[in-house]
């Protein structure tokens, strides 16, 4: 024998040592020995993590769509109103407001509407004056179309010439309610016949234009005593300048009372509407966490039983030279692998659910990769916590367990 007396009296014996690769193999071996049990006990974890990934994935995928739509519409549109006075009456803006805004550096377009309070529009002169249909009439600035980014559904927008005459451009809803389908028809507006020039497509960012009948400023001055004070100004600027323009707008329009001027960003409102679902998302993530917790308890339970069943295996390993630490590591790793396997399956399932939901809704699949990585990592941590107590118990098993029958 090459090493018959491995340890001479007094000399410290060589250490017990378990290679990391062997430890890993031991962990996998433990799972493979009882595959059905491994699957069942990691199912809870899988379901928990699948729920969380699906919730996050569906939420981010739908938000990705909103973001995409917003970037199409542009987030550089600001809306300016004069605010309201003490009596709740809308305060009109100054006559030269639009021109003043155009002079602010970075501003690309500015257009306005001026509500004409007592002017209404009807299909024809026979309709009772009280049946306004919720439609309003406003004098529109020629640049309104560019500023709001609204498209024409049919016909043409106002120009220098047509703005002088009794012509009108209808919002989409207004046209529907008035029963107008094509340009050239006549409507009864403020006691005169106005010829319909065109119909606007509906706009996500400026939905208020939908129910409006827009006429030129010159004709409004002429027929309805329009003073040139706009009610709402729409302004578009360079993306990088939006913040700066926003702070400049109130003092530019009302140097003596800047706080009265109200500036809003329609894209913010749209984005906010889509984050209302966050509470619901939070609830689902909570449910997922509970499933994860229950799954972790399932893994702990499986491991405790496993330790009791494998007392002899533990005793044998101890007799082969395993230290307590080796036994502890083996069972801890087994729990981690068990949970991580569930986590991997659950992450794949969650991804699949998100993909199906995204496809059904026409969204692009958008799960941040770090969420997938975190999914598996979280389950590994759950496994480590779940395996801690069983592993400590395994390490405490008496080395004589293999001998006692």
């Amino acid at each position: 024998m090459s090493r018959p007396r491995a340890s001479r009296p007094g000399a410290a014996p060589a250490r017990s040592r378990l290679r990391p690769g062997d430890l890993l193999a031991l962990g996998f071996h433990g799972l493979r020995a009882r595959p059905l049990r491994a699957v069942l006990s990691s199912l809870g974890i899988a379901i928990g993590i699948a729920a969380m990934i699906a919730v996050i994935g569906i939420s981010t995928s739908s938000q990705a769509l909103v973001k995409e739509r917003l970037s199409e519409l542009g987030t550089n549109l600001l809306t300016v109103t004069g605010g309201s006075d003490l009596l709740g009456q809308e305060v009109p803006l100054a006559e030269g407001a639009v021109a003043a805004i155009r002079r602010i550096p970075g501003v690309q377009h500015a257009g306005s509407t001026a509500a004409l309070a007592d002017v209404n529009v009807y299909r024809n002169s026979e309709i009772a004056p009280s049946r306004t249909g919720g439609l309003s009439v406003a004098a529109a600035d020629l640049e309104l179309l560019d500023a709001t980014g609204t498209q024409m559904l049919t016909g043409a927008w106002l120009n220098e010439a047509t703005a002088q005459y009794p012509t009108v451009v209808l919002g989409r809803a207004a046209a529907e309610r008035l029963g107008i389908q094509s340009p050239g028809s006549l409507v009864w507006l403020g006691g005169a016949h106005f010829s319909v020039l065109g119909i606007l497509d509906s706009s996500v960012l400026v939905p208020e234009l939908d129910s409006m009948a827009l006429i030129g400023e010159p004709v409004a001055r002429q027929l309805f005593g329009h003073t040139g004070n706009p009610t709402t100004i729409y302004e578009r600027s360079d993306d990088a300048r939006v913040g700066a323009v926003r702070t400049l707008l109130p003092p530019t329009l009302s140097p003596e009372k800047p706080s009265a001027v109200k500036v809003s960003r329609p894209s913010d409102a749209l984005a906010a509407k889509n984050t209302v679902d966050q509470a619901f998302t939070g609830l689902l993530v909570g449910v997922g966490s509970i499933a994860l917790l229950v799954g972790g308890i399932g893994v702990a339970n499986t491991m405790v039983i496993s330790v009791l069943e494998r007392r002899r295996e533990i005793g044998l390993r101890r007799s082969l030279g395993a230290t307590r630490r080796h036994i502890r590591q083996q069972f801890l790793l087994e729990a981690v692998l068990l949970a991580a396997a569930g986590g991997l399956a659950g992450t794949a399932l969650g991804w699949l659910i998100t993909a199906i939901a995204a496809r059904a809704n026409g969204w692009a699949l958008a799960i941040p990769p770090e969420v997938l990585v975190a999914g598996v990592a979280v389950t590994a941590v759950v496994g480590a916590i779940a395996g801690l107590l069983p592993a400590v118990r395994a390490a405490r098993t008496s080395p004589t367990a293999a001998l006692s029958s």
């Binding site: 024998m1 009296p9 014996p13 250490r15 101890r318 082969l320 293999a402």
Partner: protein, 234 residues
């Protein structure tokens, strides 16, 4: 054999007592036992006489409640769990009555497990395992699973696992207890062969005939050594 050459003794027990629980039941009571390097001996005695308890203490799996235990020159009472584990990994081999083989693993890998906690690379473990299996006459059963082997063959695999690390001390608790006479004789022959090549072998047995073929027999009763005979068989 010189009685006072302590260095020559693989095992040296002095007034070892092992008591369980409280009130204590005494499994071993003041046992003195010295086993010289290269000896082969049988521990015999009725059921409950303390044979397994004694073997556990000799194998450092258990600690005595009182008395001194020296194994391979080490004072066991002063050693940590990690040190005792190292001693078992490198210097002691165990054979059990129920074999304790892993079912889903080949004979070769079962034997290689005997070197798992020495930190030896897997390839080298397998190579040594093959040598050990050939030594116990199972060179043609390397890829067999335990289920495909007879009881005697399984115990030979277990012996190969116990000796693959070339321990100086081999301990067997009823190694033939689950085997028929013929298979048991085969196992004993392998143990004797290992002893001839230098390993110290301690065998617990119920089988009187088997015990009498060993050079030395230690007889236990009620936790005490009642006889320590050196036969002429050797």
């Amino acid at each position: 054999m010189s009685e006072d050459a302590a260095a020559e003794h693989v095992v040296e027990l002095r007034a070892v007592t092992r008591a369980y629980g409280s009130p204590p039941t005494v499994a071993l009571n003041g046992v003195d036992l010295r086993i010289a390097a290269g000896e082969m001996l049988a521990i015999v005695g009725p059921s409950g006489s303390g044979k397994s308890t004694l073997l556990n203490i000799i194998g450092s799996l258990d600690r005595a409640s009182a008395g001194d235990t020296r194994i391979a020159g080490h004072e066991v009472n002063r050693m940590s769990d990690a040190e005792l584990s190292a001693l078992r990994a490198h210097a002691i081999g165990f054979v059990f009555q129920q074999f304790h083989l892993s079912d889903g693993v080949t004979a070769l890998d079962n034997v290689a497990t005997g070197l798992l906690y020495t930190g030896m690379p897997a390839r080298e473990r397998r190579r040594k395992a093959e040598v050990a299996l050939r030594r116990v006459g199972l060179g043609d059963r390397l890829r067999h699973h335990p289920r495909q082997l007879s009881g005697g063959e399984r115990q030979r695999v277990a012996i190969a696992r116990a000796v693959v690390g070339e321990p100086s001390l081999l301990l067997a608790d009823e190694p033939t207890g689950s085997l028929d006479t013929k298979a048991g004789a085969g196992v004993v022959e392998i143990l004797a062969e290992l002893n001839r090549s230098g390993t110290t072998v301690v065998v617990i047995t119920h089988d009187q005939e088997l015990a009498e073929r060993m050079p030395r027999q230690v007889r236990l009763r009620d936790g005490e050594i009642v006889a320590d005979e050196r036969g002429v068989a050797a």
